[in-house]
């Protein structure tokens, strides 16, 4: 049972947003670019995403610092205009399927100067010398990420960056915030629904940055980045006031916070969850607060982006009762 039931009923038209149709990938999420696609609530969209490096890192001998040119990182598909969406609505995006695409080795991860959880960065500014740059190319198929001769990791793909246009700002695709964006949250995976607040007329959905697998925190700054074919179904929910992204899986609801320091991301997510429990499921706010102290679950998305992202969730059996 879905709490909201959106984006999972009868599916409308199926659109294909392939690389050719996208043409110009986007590097900010905002209301200023023209839509590349217009869809109706209920429609399915099959999206060809690029990897976070725009496919430009091809060899383990490549040097990211020579190839990548900021602010053109993390290319996004979109904006996708959703008919009838207006400020105050919520866009529900059901993630139906993610498969890898492109030539092998199609997976890429790397160490980039001033990016990563255990190095000085442009804001956690240090005088220490940077780590050496480093590129790893790995084979990825629909079952496994082949990390090394001795180790393979399950293919557990998710959308690293997904968000809607702010009302008037245009936010770098590298940034996660209340509009969604570069959250790097493994829960934005097939089978789940993400709810995003609509702030601009037409919603203007952007997505990209699909990860083949990722550890909590995306520690060294990159996951297994890879080009994908990602299928979503979008739907509109009217009259639902939400301020931050929310995610729903088969057995759990989750609120998402993105901020620095990391405790503020946790505060955002948990307060939003308390309010969600109170407003829609009839919990008393203080009782919900105390209950989450017993059974809330936190998942760290990233500890490397301009904001850190995590989700705070509760199992539906705890939300609705199990006795």
């Amino acid at each position: 049972m879905r709490a909201r039931g959106a984006a999972q009923g009868r599916v409308g038209r199926t659109h294909r947003l392939d690389e050719a149709a996208q043409r110009d990938f986007k590097y900010t999420l905002g209301p200023y670019a023209d839509p590349v696609l217009e869809v109706a609530p209920g429609d399915r969209i099959v999206v060809e995403t690029l990897d976070a490096f725009g496919g430009r890192i091809r060899l383990e001998s490549d040097r990211p610092s020579e190839i990548l040119e900021m602010p053109f990182g993390n290319p996004q598909n979109g904006p996708i205009r959703v008919e009838g969406a207006k400020k105050g609505d919520v866009l529900a995006i059901y993630i139906e399927r993610i498969v890898p695409r492109g030539d092998q080795p199609r997976g890429t991860t790397c160490l980039i100067n001033e990016l990563g959880g255990l190095v000085g960065t442009d804001v956690t500014a240090m005088l220490n010398d940077p780590l050496p740059e480093k590129v790893r190319k790995v084979v990825v198929d629909e079952n496994w990420v082949y990390w090394s001769d001795r180790l393979r990791l399950p293919y557990e793909p998710f959308i690293g960056t997904i968000g809607l246009s702010p009302q008037i700002d245009s936010i770098s695709s590298l940034v996660p915030a209340s509009h969604g964006g570069n959250m790097d949250l493994p829960e934005t995976r097939p089978g789940n629904v993400i709810y995003l607040p609509v702030r601009a007329e037409g919603a203007y959905l952007f997505l990209g940055d699909v990860h083949a697998t990722q550890g909590d925190g995306e520690l060294s700054g990159n996951a297994i980045e890879h080009p994908s074919e990602t299928t979503i179904v979008v739907d509109l929910i009217r009259d639902w006031q939400i301020n931050w992204p929310r995610i729903e899986s088969e057995d759990r609801i989750m609120s998402v916070g993105s901020a620095r320091p990391m405790e503020d991301a946790a505060r955002i997510a948990y307060r939003d969850l308390v309010e969600w429990m109170a407003d829609e499921f009839g919990h008393d706010r203080l009782e919900a607060y105390m209950l989450l102290s017993q059974c809330g679950r936190v998942r760290l998305g990233n500890m490397v982006d301009p904001n850190y992202t995590l989700s705070a969730g509760i199992e539906k059996q705890h939300l609705f009762g199990n006795v």
Copy 2:
């Protein structure tokens, strides 16, 4: 002596950007709006700024939550296009003069829900009840801010928000970051020069949010906000790679950092200052680092905006030697 000597030589044309010429005040700093004025390097601009509330808070009985409508806070003049400015240049802005304007009591400060250094906010999310809203209107003239029957504070005006367009993002006028923006730094005051990195063709300068006086940190979220007539002279410096705003006074150079947590703002500012000392004044980096441990000076701008801002500076006598 100015380290850079910019924006203080022979002044070119004088332009007037009054309310009528500005017409639509701006709420994001980006490359997407058309310039309201075009100037040449060396030109003077007399700007009529609104207060941070767009003049909409008129009475002490007003309720900010009913009057202010986000994201339309902190209206900015601009964009002002600077002829010939291109990515990689630096725009030097000499602040020549600030005087108050408008009907008395023309100064406004207030308590706004979820804004302030000692209250829960949208990101430092709390369950506690908010403080009551509160508005203070105060008389401001060119000498004093008349706080109460018993207390007046010197009129020490400065520009709360000043910044250039990012290359592709468009950033809310409420946010301070590497482009400048809502820094609330008392050092952006008459007599000083602020250096900002040009990232978009034409620089696209925005400014507003002039404060009649302000405490360190802008503790309750607002200073004495007031409409002003602000006079600046702009100049271009070619081939100077800076990443964050820098400020120069008669006797001091200062680097500016904006980030959360606050220590990252301090790290940004101090590292930039180390690099400035090394690159332009011949100091050894580690010697500069150790010297600042003995005579660096920090000024806290705000502890209430989406990023906190502070400056780290050194006296020129310590920079150049005094023996």
Copy 3:
């Protein structure tokens, strides 16, 4: 297989540290109190712990602010002196069994002024009014925590506070740090081994604060606090230089960090894990760093104590390879 094999071989003597033997519970972890028990490496100890309130909150109508008197919070059993332990050793503590004890309803959780993840505190100092105080008493047995008529949560007990004496400091039992302490980490549960650095002669082990269950972050400041009978087996590992607590389960190794802001706790834990992987399991440091970016797992202990605590771990199959 245990990476270290400690504390799980032939067990020595069994000691009982019941309430009477403990007599004076301790509120700081340090070298200044006399041991209440002396054991040899390999010995088993059955410990009667009090709940975090020293059993003083008995009724839902109790007011914590009238009952609790700081700094006497979170009473600890100990110090337990371990024969032969000296600075530079590691104490391995295998957690064998935890069962609840005491009269029903033996579980307690409550809202305390200036404690909790979504309220202002003594350090995240706010002017907002505090939330109302609130006490919940719940029945706890070896299977369930009976939260309400509609909801029961599995009994998943763990040791909330466990640590060794620092060399010369004496640290409040409310604080988690590199000596262990009030980590509130669900991974210190039956079946797991915790490794702690010995800093004082005799190790001086303290423990208490057993939780019947807890959500990630211990959001409202308290878990289901309850008196327990906790059985541990202690062992010594010589010549193992560790700086922070480490935990080992059947299928995972985990490093623990406690700090503010929360990202520093994550940095501590993840850096320690990188070093553990490099020093003991032959991984290249940078390769380990990149691998954890793909499969590291973070568990948030608390976001409410003087330091925040989390663990960062890796599955043994990923550590040793699975192909």
Copy 4:
């Protein structure tokens, strides 16, 4: 006029706590060591302090990592027992005079691994290589710190570490917290009074770590450390409930906060100042909050210790009115 008038009336006996009388310098502040001196309220004490390295760094070719042995850093004089002091009192310490002592070059500063505001540390844990170690020895007299051939800095000495014993903890002399400790705050200088909350019977005063001069933040981890002869006068104030250190100068009152992240230090200091203004000077709390937004002043002590320290103050003319 002093708000509290303490520690500045008729002075009682003068005691001398020289190196010989101190004998064992202390590395934690707590109630467990025997007093080295007993004084009465009103007494003067002339204290011979060591530098923060215990005088062990003698040459610029010394390597701190080979010489310094943690946790034995920052040696303190004390504990000094104050007759009649009991929990709930406040100890007022008037700093009368500081002069340098010892052989030239008697000033020392250095770069130490994992210490400093622009390097990774044990808690802001990084994988980057450390900076090189570096020692600077400088001549210090009662007028100047002779930094280099071209630069001398004024001798502006202050007490880097001063604090009272906690009730039951014993806190490392490297740590600043609510008991005082390693605050590195230039306002603890001759002419000022520092107020500290008494928590243990006899107060147990510790001090040391005198700096010849220091920049805001003590950026590289050390100021100009030097041995000193420091003269203080102590007094008791009964029935004054304070939770954090407070400082009073001729023209200003200041509250002190020590915490991480830095914004929490600012919140602590500013909230305490609001409460001080309300409780003792008759200000309305919300009016005080708004007034500090116009004229509060922050001074950053350190951004390098286990907690960061800063003060928030207000001029007495603004406190009492100036019209």
